[in-house]
């Protein structure tokens, strides 16, 4: 039977594993995407819905977790288009945690994302992806020793086709993923250490693009014309293999947790800066608000003839266009 101290330590580790899996399973900022006249920035609550050639270095997060720990992480992300519609991604994070103190790498995540629907005219994109957080690729005690597989769906819609000028700068994006650990539970000398639930991760962004407004609707003062303010959120709901509730356990393991809050992105010619204030939706989501921030480099603009173009084919999408399919 586990002692109280080892039990709390195990739960703390489980929290770190879970956080890492969720964070890395979807990943912080991925590629920005250009669909028609619309730039979908590399957002922080969820990945943007399309494909591109991108380097995000770093994404910084500061979170105040439900178990009382405080986590700081720095993430490096690289995305490469194989074709205009198919992108492979790789990313990992370094975690510094206090209370309890932890330092190390959270493991390597790879992702393959395919744009399956694109309408440039209607600023619409749908992508499917499969991410894998590879087990035993990070620091023992921080990164999980088992692999987690996450099928994903991304969607984005800009409202440049709206009949009202005030609505045209608006865009929305959404993402959903199902995280499936390949190991249901971890035992040590027949004692249960962690139980690894499957979980549903989902999120959204609501964007009001001053970049779009300035170019297509109404001139914006120069100081504002590179900005995209947002409201974003992401949530995780445990689905199965959750295990029994344990009195005094870390809150949030048996309920939906998540964060919401405002974001702001500065979109320059070949890079982007972003910041997002993440407010916990309940006690299980964290004790205090956190902050996410990123620096994202648009490789298609920095290196258009080398790193910034698809390996095969041209830059234009050939994905299915639902608006024209039946004309």
């Amino acid at each position: 039977m586990m002692s109280h101290k080892s039990h709390k330590t195990s739960l703390a580790c489980a929290g770190a594993f879970a956080a890492a899996a969720i964070l890395a399973g979807i990943g912080p900022a991925s590629a920005h995407t250009i669909i028609g006249d619309r730039i979908f920035p590399a957002t922080l609550a969820i990945s943007d819905p399309g494909t591109n050639d991108e380097l995000t270095l770093p994404t910084f997060t500061w979170t105040n977790n439900a178990d009382g720990s405080v986590s700081y992480s720095w993430n490096g992300f690289y995305g490469k288009r194989i074709t205009a519609d198919l992108e492979v991604q790789i990313f990992s994070s370094f975690l510094h945690q206090v209370n309890p103190r932890l330092n190390g790498w959270t493991g390597i995540t790879t992702d393959v994302v395919d744009q399956i629907m694109v309408s440039n005219e209607h600023e619409f994109v749908v992508s499917l992806g499969v991410a894998e957080l590879w087990g035993a690729t990070g620091t023992p005690g921080i990164a999980p020793q088992f692999t987690t597989i996450s099928p994903q769906l991304f969607i984005g819609k800009g409202f440049g086709d709206a009949p009202w000028d005030w609505a045209r700068p608006i865009a929305v994006t959404g993402a959903i993923a199902y995280n499936v650990p390949t190991v249901a539970a971890v035992f040590n000398n027949n004692v249960l250490v962690t139980q690894n639930p499957t979980s549903l991760f989902y999120g959204f962004t609501l964007q009001y693009s001053l970049v779009y407004m300035n170019g297509y609707v109404q001139e914006v003062p120069e100081i504002l014309r590179n900005l995209i303010p947002t409201f974003e959120g992401n949530f995780t709901t445990p689905v199965s293999n959750i295990g029994p509730s344990i009195p005094g356990a870390i809150p949030g393991t048996h309920e939906t947790t998540g964060v919401v809050g405002p974001g702001l992105y500065y979109v320059a010619h070949d890079y982007q800066l972003g910041i997002y204030g993440a407010f916990p939706i309940n006690r299980g989501s964290g004790k205090h608000p956190g902050v996410f921030a990123n620096v994202d480099f648009y490789l298609d603009d920095l290196f258009p003839n080398t790193l910034g173009k698809p390996i095969f084919g041209g830059p234009e999408s050939s994905a299915f266009d639902p608006w024209h399919a039946f004309k």
């Binding site: 170019g215 010619h269 920095l302």
Partner: protein, 122 residues
Amino acid sequence: MQRFLKPFIIAVLASSLAATTAFAHAFLDHAVPGVGMTVSAPVREIRLYYTQGVITAFSHVHVASDAGAVIPTGKLVNAPSDQQTVIVRLGRALGPGGYSLSWQVTSVDTHVTQGTFHFTVS
């Protein structure tokens, strides 16, 4: 910050890469008459200011009144010593009324971008 980060990234990503000036998609930064703005008559030319250099030979602009009348335009040219500015010389001065301008440009790194905006002449 840009002065620090760009040289850092270029160095990290290996010297075998062809070093290029930082090109980008040519998005419309501002225009004269301004996007969505109202200006005084007459208007004899329109200037489009882009975020990157534009190859006018592979670019097109279409101007029409709200009534649907097409406004003739001359050959697109860049401003002297400024490839990011495109000058649209109009076949006739624009009188009072609303107008739409549709543009499609090719940037110096061959990215194609397009857009439409409206303005009013009072």
